[in-house]
């Protein structure tokens, strides 16, 4: 089978789920005739028609609200945020309506909210965000952020079939830059399960999304210096897979967290605490983190380059940690 991009893998998941289940519909700005700002939904309107692929007004709260209502009647709406940054416009619908619904009154919200996220494409302060932690801090949501095409497809299928509101982040830097051969047939990847991408004995790099690829590159560099890093791809940030994480820490005794999200309140802090709670006696060094700066995402290339973590910074931190 031919290799496909992350973007194409996502499109395939939507296509196959819509074929499989007529209760799956798409809503979003320019998702229909235009096929979405990044063309993720290209061709879906032609195939599934006006009722199932709905071009909406520029009204993020209305789009998410309507999806919640559709979910109450047993449909499985998939909402596209044109850029994930715009999710701030519908924060109330996501965090107060959708997230609390099942807990408060037993009404599940089987909705997926997906959108292009992340920096590295000079999108500036409003088209580059990684807002995942607002939602990781919201009980009732699930938060998924895949790093590879095969995961993206399998995780999106699981998200659509899940009975809860799932936020599905798609790193736009990866959309067309990575390719992979996908497993054949109808497969899913379970939510809430991390994966060991590279085995190693000296330290564990915990990461996700675009930084997963950065971390793998760093691990190759380190290997040439005799440092064997294990790389864990979280894939789902909420709920977090504690078992995979702790098993690796118990093996390597050292943890480095690498994420593209900003530093303060990023998931690195949560992971450090989980490790303290669950594997403190196994630690041979501090839990370190490599993250973006605590600033908005700047626009000009040299500024954005300074803002984003990179291979050198991950490798440097790993070298420092390996010395303990």
């Amino acid at each position: 089978m031919a290799e496909v991009t992350l973007l194409e893998a996502i499109r395939q998941a939507l296509f196959e789920e819509m074929e499989r289940d007529p209760s799956v519909v798409l809503l979003g700005e320019d998702v229909g005739v235009y096929g979405g700002a990044f063309k993720v939904t290209a061709g879906l309107l032609e195939r599934f028609g006006w009722e199932r692929v709905i071009d909406t007004p520029i009204s993020e709260s209305a789009i998410v609200g309507a999806a919640v209502g559709m979910g109450y009647l047993g449909m499985r709406p998939v909402v596209e945020m044109q850029f994930i940054d715009f999710i701030a416009c519908c924060f109330n619908q996501v965090t107060n309506f959708a997230a609390k619904s099942h807990y408060r009154w037993g009404a599940p919200v089987p909705m997926v909210l997906r959108g292009p996220s992340g920096g590295g494409v000079h999108g500036g302060p409003f088209h580059s965000a990684n807002p995942e932690m607002y939602f990781v801090h919201t009980p009732g949501l699930k938060v998924v952020y895949p790093a590879t095409p095969s995961d993206a497809k399998g995780l999106l299928k699981s998200a659509i079939r899940d009975n809860n509101p799932v936020l599905f982040f798609e790193h736009k830097f990866l959309y067309r830059r990575i390719k992979e051969e996908l497993p054949a047939g109808d497969y899913t990847v379970p939510l809430g399960k991390a994966i060991v991408r590279r085995e190693g004995r000296d330290l564990t790099i915990v990461t996700y999304a675009a930084m997963m690829h950065t971390s793998l590159e760093a691990a190759e560099l380190l290997a040439k210096e005799g440092i064997e890093a294990e790389v864990i791809d979280l894939r789902t940030l909420l709920p977090l897979d504690r078992e995979t994480l702790l098993a690796s820490v118990k093996k390597t005794n050292k943890v480095l967290v690498a994420h593209e999200d900003t530093r303060t309140g990023g998931i690195a802090g949560e992971i450090a605490e989980l490790v303290c709670e669950g594997a403190f006696e196994d630690l041979d060094g501090p839990v370190l983190r490599v993250t973006a700066l605590d600033t908005p995402v700047p626009f000009s290339p040299p500024l954005e380059e300074r803002f984003l973590p990179n291979v050198e910074r991950v490798a440097d931190a790993a070298r420092a940690l390996a010395k303990y």
Binding site: E19, P22, S23, V25, G32, V33, L45, E46, R47, F48, G49, W50, E51, R52, I54, D55, T56, P57, S59, E60, S61, A62, I63, V64, G65, A66, A67, V68, G69, M70, G71, Y72, L73, G74, M75, R76, P77, N92, Q93, N96, F97, K100, S101, H102, Y103, R104, W105, G106, A107, P108, P110, P139, G140, K142, N163, N164
Partner: protein
């Protein structure tokens, strides 16, 4: 009278309204006895709007009540005990104590969506309910209520606009009760009639005396029929008055006494009881029977609520996610083949008829003629012309003539 009521229906309307009134007066007593947990939000004085609008719907229709719509919940089949236990935070309440007040619902039988405290968010949610009902072929209407203050939110506008573009079968009842907490409606909205807002969405609207339950019922019935016929969403403005403070802690000293007097003279329950007597729809015996029934039901339910336990603390940890506890399956009333290829497949192109220039704008009440509105595939010319006439008719706000 376009939608005549039988004697039984008249008496039922009275029963719900009186039950609404008596239940809330009971809640005030419980509040004073410190038996209500948290705030108490009263709909005293607004009962005709809640009961009359909800009563106009079919059992298969969906509602989403706001905090002052206890009456609508009663019409949908909830019992006083449900509301009492919610306010008293008991384990026997519909939310098991996880939420209070009117914040509960039922997707399966009563078709009630729980509100959240933030105003306006139900507008798009019920738009989605209406769209899903149509998608599944259920021929339902969705209804929610919002206060005068709630129409100031951005999400009200987003939701109404989306509902209008989708022609969703959705009725939005604006309960203009004159006060948004302590702020008078004039400081919220620079309009005399909130129904005017409908013009911004190109949809139909009505203005009705919210304290006249028969007028409210008839207006809501007409609005619902209009939705069911596929004419798109409707706004009803019901003019009424919040006869208490925002919540029980608020003595509402900011309201001029004369304003309370004005509305006291237009009390919805007093007016309706007078109407029933004048029209010989009841006698003193029937009236006494209704009162006795309400007293009995309330007494039983109050006893039930007071005897009910608080929830076990460990419940706090449960139910964040649906982990297979609910089965999600839509109730299809149309062949799904219509929604799957090859039947669903189309040519994905906008059909633009109007280039948007100034001279075309002069061409009278012509609605934006972009087809493929998400609800229906692009129509042929003849169908489009028909739709346009319908939409033009829907434009001007209608002052409801529904009087008894």
């Amino acid at each position: 009278m376009k939608f005549p009521l039988t004697r039984e229906q008249h008496l039922e309307l009275h029963y719900y309204m009186k039950l609404n009134r008596t239940l809330e007066e009971q809640l005030v007593r419980l509040f004073r006895q410190n038996k209500v947990v948290g705030g108490l939000y009263s709909s005293l004085g607004q009962e005709a709007t809640s009961v009359g609008t909800a009563y106009a719907l079919e059992p298969r229709d969906w509602i989403a009540p706001m905090i002052r719509n206890v009456g609508a919940l009663l019409v949908k089949g909830y019992k006083p005990r449900d509301i009492l236990t919610q306010y008293m935070a008991r384990y026997t309440s519909p939310t098991l104590g996880k939420d209070g007040t009117s914040h509960f619902g039922d997707l399966k039988v009563r078709r009630v969506v729980s509100p959240i405290s933030m105003l306006g968010d139900l507008i798009p949610v019920m738009t989605g309910v209406a769209m899903a009902g149509r998608y599944l072929g259920q021929k339902i209407v969705a209804m929610t209520w919002i206060g005068d203050g709630g129409t100031s939110t951005g999400v009200f506008h987003e939701g109404m606009n989306f509902a209008a573009t989708q022609k969703a079968p959705f009725v939005c009842v604006i309960e203009n009760n004159q006060w948004a907490y302590s702020t008078p409606v004039k400081r919220q909205v620079p309009l005399h009639d909130l129904a005017e807002r409908a013009r911004a969405y190109g949809i139909a609207s009505y203005i009705v005396d919210g304290n006249d339950i028969v007028a409210v019922y008839e207006t809501a019935k007409e609005a619902a029929e209009r939705c069911r016929a596929g004419d798109g969403p409707v706004i009803i403005e019901a003019k009424t008055m919040r006869m208490r403070g925002h919540a029980q802690h608020d003595p509402a000293e900011y309201v001029p006494k004369e304003m309370f007097d004005y509305w006291k003279a237009r009390d919805p329950l007093d007016q309706y009881e007078k109407f029933l007597t004048e029209n010989k729809l009841w006698d003193s015996r029937t009236r006494a029977e209704i009162d006795a029934r309400i007293d009995r039901e309330l007494k039983e339910d109050l006893e039930f609520a007071e005897k009910s336990p608080f929830p076990p603390p460990e419940l706090a940890e449960q139910g964040v996610y649906c982990e297979g506890c609910h089965k999600i399956e839509p109730d299809w009333h149309r062949p799904v083949e219509e929604l799957l290829p090859p039947k669903s497949s189309i040519e994905a192109l906008w059909q633009v008829e109007d280039f948007g220039g100034l001279e075309e704008a002069a061409n009278a009440a012509k609605p934006a003629a972009v087809s493929g509105d998400g609800a229906r595939p692009p129509a042929n010319k003849e169908q489009r012309a028909k739709r346009k006439t319908k939409a033009a008719k829907a434009k001007a706000p209608v002052r409801s003539k529904a009087r008894r």
